[in-house]
Subunit: 200 residues, 2 copies
DNA sequence: ACATTTATTAACCATTTGGTTAAACTATTT
DNA sequence: AAATAGTTTAACCAAATGGTTAATAAATGT
């Protein structure tokens, strides 16, 4: 092989462009330019825009899923899970600011395609977590709550700031620096808020 | 005039297509088809795709802003504002499911353009609300909290479920009916959660 | 060293897409 | 009714875009 890294350069460039512009807005030429290769190479390694997109989507999904799975499948207590997820997820997204938006957008635009992922093994499965909640309620640690609503609250509070960055920052008039320091604050604030609302 | 409604048919069709597919994914032909007119009419009434998009964006922004302004500018108490916003916003979005996503997406893709709106008079201004929070803290009604974080929590909890519908429903395995009934529940749940976290 | 496979490029192609034009049709004015 | 202004359409156009091809260059096996 002449250059082992060509294929991964393409994927890297594709990730960058697709995540910023989405499937519809991304241009094959722009990806080629960013990867500093000829456009034909895109089709040599990935045969079509759709296939390249799918590689990008898979990569994003596989990077994202472990955070959810940590909540769904680890042996920690519910309180610990909330605290640890909030911290690790916010840190993660601050390093990958386009990722949640990209996933959300493309899943919304492409429900049938997304269902392939939600049907696969890498897809997070909330069953164990639901059981855990039931147990901790039984044990008198938690109030009687709906695990789905708790998860929705957790995901909303952690993810929305990043997904809706532009709108949020526009409405609240936040500059980059203020936004970032608020996100750091939220690593404490969110677990506090949630744990307080569910602990007996 | 031959048909008074042609122009508004176009706008209606444009709203439908742009909100579902976004600026990049929308096709002028599809808008024309949905409006059941010739494609040239789009350029006759709105001179370009960009102009038509701007009309759609403005309409969406103007439909959305009053909900925020009710929080920012009404004379209600903070508790009342939280309760009323949650209820009215969730109802509103259930009738306009594509709107928040559309706004967020296009603002993120087009920050310079969005800044025009955030600089205009229709843009919500959080100043009065911040003052109100300070007053209610002073009066001993509220704990010392950051108004920005409170607003972020409120917007996150109400909006994220709709913006991230596909992802949320995929991860939590929710069917249409369950999702809707959860949203109804949230009209109660969210104010409870938030008020409890800020009341002294 | 030579043949073969793999990698890369420039040029090209077909389709899609936003946009235009000129003619036809309809309503309004005089 | 004739002229005028406003509305609508079919056909067309140029640029953009995803994709292909044929030739070349580089690596690899024998």
């Amino acid at each position: 092989m002449k250059d082992q890294s060509t294929e991964e350069n393409i994927l890297k460039a594709a990730i960058s462009v697709f995540q910023k512009k989405g499937m519809a807005g991304a241009r094959m030429q722009e990806i080629a330019d960013e990867a500093k290769i000829n456009k034909a190479m895109l089709h040599y390694y990935y045969k079509s825009k759709q296939k390249l997109f799918e590689a990008v989507f898979r990569q994003a999904f596989e990077k994202f899923a472990p955070h959810i799975n940590q909540v769904f499948n680890s042996d920690k207590s519910v309180f610990e899970k909330i605290t640890e997820f909030t911290d690790s997820y916010i840190s993660f997204v601050m390093e990958n600011p386009y990722l949640p938006n990209f996933l959300i957008q493309e899943i919304n635009n492409n429900p049938e395609f997304a269902d392939i992922f939600f049907g696969s093994e890498i897809a997070p499965n909330p069953l164990r977590f639901k059981k855990q909640i039931a147990e901790e309620i039984e044990m008198g640690i938690l109030r009687p709550i709906d695990p789905k609503q708790l998860l929705l609250n957790l995901f909303s509070l952690t993810a929305f700031s990043f997904v809706g960055t532009g709108l949020v920052r526009g409405i609240l008039n936040l500059d980059e620096k203020t936004f970032k320091s608020m996100m750091e604050e939220r690593k404490i604030l969110i677990p506090e808020l949630l744990i307080n609302s569910i602990k007996k």
